[in-house]
Symmetry: C2
Subunit: 283 residues, 2 copies
């Protein structure tokens, strides 16, 4: 594939940032790759694995002359990182991200860039609860969807290049309004994470549970192993939409609870059967 960017700076060389570096390099989409981070140990791992060519803890060093700045840091840190890098980017640079919340990120980062560079909000829906450069892999994005949330003023050429980047690493790209994205992700991802955290917190007092829990409980709570810094940020940044999703779940949970309280077998059978049929569509 033709090269899209000559020098890219990856802020946050974790599972997502590291995997994008591996995949983009493998596909010939990028030239030099420089890592930017707060922790040298992780950056050393990334360089050792050949994920990045070089790294710096200093934004002005790491981002110098880059024509792509990729933000994969916790969502509350994105605007500050963009601000710190902007003065040294190539004049042709595009800025993008991989945040799980788009409304807050797009407005904060666009404000931080103050029109100097185009920002194309992106959310590759891939990954998992592992963290760090050690977990990165070139095939992480293959076959999964990526949502882009360009603003009205985003230059089409910048959107085209970011679309080509994600398509180039195997994703199916869809464009979406930021609010639609945030409402959808509140339901499909942020709510399930909240439930998994609450379930584990409710269960973990009991030592027997650890010994006698089966595969199904492990599968169901796997996402509760996700990093606290990332997820506390996501919950706060998307809290209005998440509240709606939490309420929708609470209503469904109450309906089920009442049928259990009543010992209402017929109602329970109907509620479970509707869940069973809907779940089958997720596969």
């Amino acid at each position: 594939m033709p090269r899209l960017f000559d020098k890219i700076t990856i802020a946050g060389v974790g599972l997502i940032g590291g995997s994008l570096a591996l995949a983009a390099r493998e596909q010939g989409l990028v030239g030099e790759i420089v890592g930017l981070g707060r922790g040298e140990a992780n950056l050393r791992t990334a360089r050792g694995r050949g994920i990045i060519d070089a790294y710096s803890l200093d934004p002005r060093e790491a981002a110098r002359n880059a024509d792509l700045l990729f933000l994969s840091v916790p969502v509350s840190a994105m605007a500050a990182v963009a601000s710190a890098c902007a003065p040294v980017l190539s004049t042709a640079a595009v800025v993008t991200d991989a945040g799980s919340v788009k409304g807050a990120v797009v407005s904060d980062v666009e404000a931080a860039l103050a029109g100097s560079f185009p920002f194309v909000g992106a959310h590759p829906i891939a990954g998992g609860e592992q963290a760090g450069a050690g977990a990165a892999r070139a095939d992480l994005f293959e076959g999964s969807p990526c949502i882009l949330t360009p603003s009205r003023g985003t230059p089409p050429e910048a959107v085209r290049k970011i679309r080509a980047l994600w398509e180039g690493v195997g994703m199916t790209v869809v464009e979406m309004d930021v609010d639609d994205h945030d409402a959808l992700l509140a339901r499909v991802s942020h709510l399930p994470h909240a439930i998994a955290f609450a379930l584990v917190n409710a269960l973990c007092r009991n030592e027997e549970i650890v010994t006698l829990s089966g595969q199904s409980l492990r599968d169901m709570t796997r996402i509760a192993a996700s990093p606290a810094e990332v997820w506390s940020d996501i919950f706060v940044a998307n809290r209005e939409r998440l509240k709606t999703a939490l309420d929708e779940f609470s209503a469904a949970f109450e309906t089920l609870r009442k049928a259990i309280d009543r010992g209402d077998r017929a109602a329970l059978r109907e509620l479970i059967e509707s869940a069973r049929q809907a779940q089958a569509k997720l596969r």
Copy 2:
């Protein structure tokens, strides 16, 4: 291994009943295996796969001279099946089950047997959301725990044979009081199922969720694919214990929801970190 039973009757040749037949035969623990069921199609599948030697829809035919009656039907049907089979069992017969609730099952089945045969309540914690003889496999139980809940009056020889059966198919057997079992399973299994059903019911209205849901939502809701008849029964039979578990989850969910409402990053980080650490112990 030495043979434990000469002729066993399996009431309900589904995932659990069928897998026990396959595993027990493979280990030489049983002689003839006869299936009892309501649906001939499933029993034909079971015979076709060599899971059972013969079958009948009539309890008095299927259970004749059996020295083990294995009940793997929905929990509300167990006592009636035990009653129907009792008149024709071998005088040396032992009755056992695989129900996910033990309090209600033990008292109902013991009442149905009226002291004629020993009953050893058992709960092999294995399986999944698949159903039917087609899903049965000989290695289903290997390495998983099995809980036995003998009553005070259960003859030790009957307990010993049922323990040998489950150990013989690879399970780690623990004995437990029925109430302890039901309280534990309410938390470790029945609550997670209730949550999965409610989550899918809350989400399923939205077509986009189906397209854009990731692997994590599929994993988390996998148990919502479980059969409605089995699970409505379990919820009703264990509803007192389940209520407690539902309340415990609701309290943890409310704590998280309030921290989200307040936008309290520090509290969220702590709640998520405690969940992350507890989840790691489940592996």
